[in-house]
């Protein structure tokens, strides 16, 4: 199963603690600790960036640029405990900047993702490991696009910086919280209705 970085997004307190620890070590002169931080957080940043709708190639560039930004301006991270949030916010801002100047941005890639769903037995179908996941995917795909994007963001970062989310989704900042609530409710409804 493809589990690159699926220890659970920044929700996982183990990941959060490990990232904080690695960042602290790096900042006190332990150079290899940066490698640890890069390996644990890059997959998370991947999902943060992909949630904005950038294609895979552009997403890889954005992840790389996010790390360059960190190395160049690590002093601006005042609180080591905020490192995961700092990285996710920087990645989303960079993704938004790139999508504004690039024609490579596409709002959603449902077709691409759909193609990997287990319609029939094939190597690709192995990526979805359970009926439960297929069920969840079908429910998600019935939600409005805005819901899909917002939920993908909060799945990887439960408490994101709302201002950068508002920019990347083109929504007023005040509507993010209520929209998130409504989208989760809709998703539950779809899950129930599809059962």
């Amino acid at each position: 199963m493809a589990t690159h970085g699926a220890p659970g997004g920044p929700t996982s307190s183990a990941l959060y603690d490990a990232a904080t620890d690695a960042f602290r070590r790096w900042r006190t002169g332990d150079e290899p600790a940066l490698d640890d931080l890069v390996r644990m957080m890059s997959p998370v940043l991947w999902h943060v960036v992909r949630a904005t709708g950038l294609d895979r190639e552009a997403a890889e560039d954005v992840v790389q640029n996010t790390w360059l930004t960190l190395v160049r301006s690590a002093d601006s991270v005042r609180d080591a405990q905020a490192i995961t949030r700092w990285l996710c916010t920087a990645a989303r801002r960079e993704a938004w900047r790139v999508s504004k100047v690039s024609t490579r941005s596409r709002p959603v890639e449902d077709e691409v993702l759909d193609a990997r769903m287990p319609v029939q037995s094939s190597p690709e179908s192995e990526v979805v490991t359970s009926d439960e996941q297929a069920h969840l995917w079908r429910a998600l795909s019935r939600l409005p696009e805005r819901c899909q994007k917002l939920l993908r963001i909060v799945a990887w970062e439960p408490r994101p910086d709302y201002s950068s989310v508002a920019d990347s989704l083109g929504m007023p900042i005040g509507s993010i919280g209520p929209t998130r609530r409504r989208c989760l409710d809709k998703l539950r409804l779809e899950l129930g209705g599809l059962a």
Binding site: A2, H4, G5, A6, T11, S42, V71, V127, Q133, L191
Partner: protein, 166 residues
């Protein structure tokens, strides 16, 4: 399906991780780029000493030779590097020698941050020899990063060659 928010969000994170996994070499690409970026300001530019004549002749212009081998020698303040590029069945091969032999990481690839993820990495052995058996082709540069904490690496500057053609 559990209906608590956290569990639902976790299930979504797992779903996206399965459907749209990060490239397996994502972190390696980041690290390769950071390794170069880190030292960019400190890089000393090698100078091309000479293209070295080889029996098979040199490639230039639009006269490709099937078994062409070309050798280049670059020199910096602390060490020299000899680079030999040869044809293989599948493409090109690049062999390098650092003199004097030093623990060294070599990166080979095109110039510019945007293509940094396509750079290849190799380590020089105790004889100062390193190789890229399937070298990236086109206009490339070679970065040599002395490995810190190993031997005299601490005092040796990092070098980058001028662009050359593989």
């Amino acid at each position: 399906m559990n209906t608590f928010d956290d569990d639902l969000l976790q299930a979504m994170a797992d779903l996206y991780a399965a459907l749209d996994p990060a490239p397996a070499d994502l972190a390696d690409g980041v690290l390769a780029r950071l390794a170069v970026q880190d030292l960019e300001a400190e890089f000393e530019l090698f100078t091309l000493v000479q293209p070295v004549d080889t029996l098979a002749g040199t490639r230039h212009g639009d006269e490709p030779e099937t078994s062409a081998t070309v050798a280049l020698e670059f020199a910096g303040s602390a060490y020299r590097v000899l680079v030999r590029i040869s044809d293989t069945d599948d493409g090109r091969r690049l062999d390098g020698w650092v003199v004097p032999a030093l623990p060294m990481r070599a990166l080979l690839g095109p110039q510019g941050d945007a293509l940094a993820h396509t750079r290849q990495s190799a380590y020089a052995d105790r004889e100062g020899r390193f190789e890229f058996p399937a070298a990236v082709t086109g206009e490339v540069r070679l970065w040599l990063l002395p490995q810190r904490g190993r031997g005299d690496g601490d005092t040796v500057p990092a070098f980058v060659t001028p662009p050359f053609l593989v």
